[in-house]
């Protein structure tokens, strides 16, 4: 059983807390993504699971076994590093074989297992090259092969795709997804890229400033965010966040009344709220048809859709429509927000109001 458990784990350097009293339970064979901006503590958390950093307090368990005092090599884990950490003086074959060699696997067994791992990542022709003669994508696959050659209990991946160019990143995402499905190993994956999180994860832990803000499936995180931070971190283009106040069940901005809130959302009068609505949940129509009439500020055709930006007082709102929309700057249009996908947040705490 290769579950991973964190219980009240803290990592502090003097007064600075990289990870602040966090608990987390990862199920066996789950693909968990730690998502957040740089400095949020996601990499520190993973390094503590690996044993490369010691927690200041708290317990880390792999399976039922407390591993705080164990060295990385005794935890039966494998790791893919952000810059791959390949051994430059060894060939690809040597790199992949190293975990087996250093643990005393019989040399007769090493060869076939290296070949098997290389085949899984399609590296069989490159086994005799040195890392410096490989491209970025190839090096990344060597790092993967080295991790899977041993069938450990837990895989750890530290932003493995961040050094690849955009196109390669997309194709490697699919590769990773397929590989993890086939291998069925508990995986902890660290990234700042929300698309990677959405596409690869069974569950996502969104982190900021050393704390997990929300833990849930990608759908939950996307459709039911717990705070402004989570809501605006996931989704591209980001969720529109409009400041205003509630009176008589109507949401008002500084420009005036915006819309009547549908049932299901909090209705008390409040002074400081933020209304959230995603670009794809706003539709554009002729003036008078929707919730509010506005003037077009900018139009961007991304090929698969059209993003229309409008200005509301000091705020900008982006609406995403299908690619055949034809509006021009300074046109008058109307916006209609889908009532099923509106969110209200408290302005000072950022918490979601239910």
């Amino acid at each position: 059983m290769a579950s991973v458990t964190l219980r009240n784990v803290t990592k502090a350097w003097g007064p600075v807390k990289g990870v602040d009293d966090q608990s987390l339970q990862i199920a066996d064979r789950e693909f968990l993504v730690l998502l957040g901006p740089s400095g949020c503590g996601k990499t520190t958390t993973m390094r503590m699971i690996a044993g490369l950093e010691e927690p200041s307090s708290g317990d880390i368990l792999i399976g039922e076994h407390r591993v705080n005092d164990e060295l990385p090599k005794d935890r039966d884990i494998a790791m893919v590093f952000q810059n791959y950490g390949l051994y430059p003086h060894m060939s690809v074959r040597g790199n992949i074989a190293y975990p087996l060699k250093v643990r005393g696997v019989a040399s007769a067994d090493i060869g076939p297992r290296v070949e098997a791992a290389a085949r899984q990542v399609e590296l069989t022709e490159l086994l005799d090259r040195k890392p410096k003669a490989l491209s970025g994508g190839q090096r990344q696959r060597v790092a993967l092969a080295r991790a899977i050659v041993r069938t450990p209990q837990v895989f750890l991946m530290d932003e493995p795709l961040s050094n690849l160019d955009a196109k390669l990143r997309v194709s490697m995402r699919a590769e990773l997804k397929n590989l993890s499905h086939r291998l069925k190993v508990t995986t902890v994956y660290v990234t700042h890229d929300q698309i990677e999180a959405m596409t690869l994860a069974d569950r996502v832990a969104v982190m900021s400033e050393g704390r997990i803000l929300q833990l849930g499936t990608p759908e939950t995180i996307y459709n039911d965010p717990a705070s402004v931070f989570v809501a605006s971190f996931i989704g591209s283009p980001a969720m529109n966040l409009i400041e205003g106040h509630l009176r008589d069940g109507v949401f008002h901005t500084t420009e005036g009344a915006l819309m009547r809130l549908p049932p299901g959302l909090p209705r008390q009068d409040r002074g400081d709220v933020v209304l959230g609505v995603r670009p794809e949940d706003i539709s554009v129509g002729a003036p008078g048809e929707g919730d509010v009439d506005v003037t077009v500020f900018a139009v961007e055709n991304t090929g698969d859709s059209v993003l229309t930006t409008i200005r509301l007082g000091a705020e900008r709102i982006v609406a995403r429509g299908d690619r055949y929309q034809k509006n021009a700057i300074d046109d008058r249009i109307s916006l209609r927000c889908d009532p099923a996908h509106l969110y209200l947040f408290d302005r000072s705490s950022g918490e979601r109001l239910r």
Partner: protein, 290 residues
């Protein structure tokens, strides 16, 4: 003025200085070695003798071979010892942190002592009457205290070795710390995760990546050891007898005590040959990194 002319003008003074102060004397030294040149005689230089100085050094002069042996032994031993100690200390100091950085800064101090100064200091400390080491040995290792270090040929050689190694460890340690810093931390962590213990991480991952810097260190120290003069002059002046007479000191002795300029130049030029070989290898490291 066009760049084309300017660039040669900018380089010219330096080239002239190097040419006049290094290249020309080198050539002149070679010329001197071909003449019988006893400086004390008024008719300097005397007859052209071709390569007879060289032949004589190799066949008739045991003192020459003594210097060669002393220099060779000294070079090999000091290179090995200094490198090993420097590597050990670099590994201790590399991890960083306030304590270690502070110690690293202190390493500059011994390095700012010139070899001549080191020679004097060690002569002071190994003095049989009031030397620091004599006192320390009497307390800890009485057998060692009974040796008159600077008067015994075998012992004196080792004193010179110890002084030289002591003097060069700080510099080589700093170089190796820089080399260790350039080994990517991820390769070490990957090895730890892969299953390697501390020793195996060092042997399989750190050391192979450190080899280029290690080679630079070894070549540099070899060159400095071959050239050693100041330390020997101040510590033992080649003695007792000629037990610690390195080639540089032998040249100095013949040139300025016996005034045999021709012969001294010949021996000096013989020293140039291993220098050129080492310089070739060193240059490879300097230029390959461009």
């Amino acid at each position: 003025m066009r760049d084309r002319t300017l660039k040669y003008l900018l380089v010219a003074p330096a080239v002239l200085v190097v040419g006049a102060t290094a290249v020309w004397p080198l050539a002149e030294s070679l010329r001197l070695s071909l003449y019988a040149g006893r400086l004390s005689r008024p008719d300097f230089p005397q007859a052209f003798v071709g390569s007879s100085h060289y032949a004589w050094a190799f066949t008739e002069e045991p003192a020459f071979w003594n210097s060669v042996a002393v220099t060779a032994a000294f070079t090999v031993i000091t290179v090995v010892l200094t490198t090993l100690f420097a590597l050990a200390f670099a590994l201790l100091l590399a991890p960083g942190g306030k304590f270690r950085s502070g110690v690293q800064s202190l390493l500059i101090l011994p390095f700012a002592m010139s070899p001549a100064l080191i020679g004097v200091s060690f002569r002071f400390m190994f003095n049989p009457e009031f030397g620091l080491f004599d006192a320390m040995f009497t307390g800890i290792l009485p057998a060692a205290a009974s040796i008159n270090w600077l008067a015994d040929p075998g012992a004196a050689f080792w004193v010179v070795v110890v002084a030289d190694v002591w003097g060069w460890i700080p510099f080589l340690t700093l170089v190796l710390i820089g080399g260790l810093a350039s080994v990517p931390r991820e390769t070490l962590e990957a090895a730890q995760v892969d299953g390697a213990s501390g020793w195996r991480v060092f042997r399989d991952v750190t050391l192979p990546q450190l080899l280029p810097v290690l080679a630079v260190v070894i070549i540099l120290k070899a060159i400095f050891s071959l050239k050693t003069f100041d330390l020997v002059f101040m510590l033992t002046n080649g003695g007792p007898g000629n037990a610690t007479q390195t080639l540089s000191h032998y040249v100095y002795f013949n040139g300025f005590k016996y005034a045999e300029f021709g012969y001294a130049s010949a021996v000096a030029w013989l020293m140039v040959i291993p220098m050129m070989v080492l310089t070739y290898f060193y240059a490879r490291f300097v230029f390959d990194r461009k």
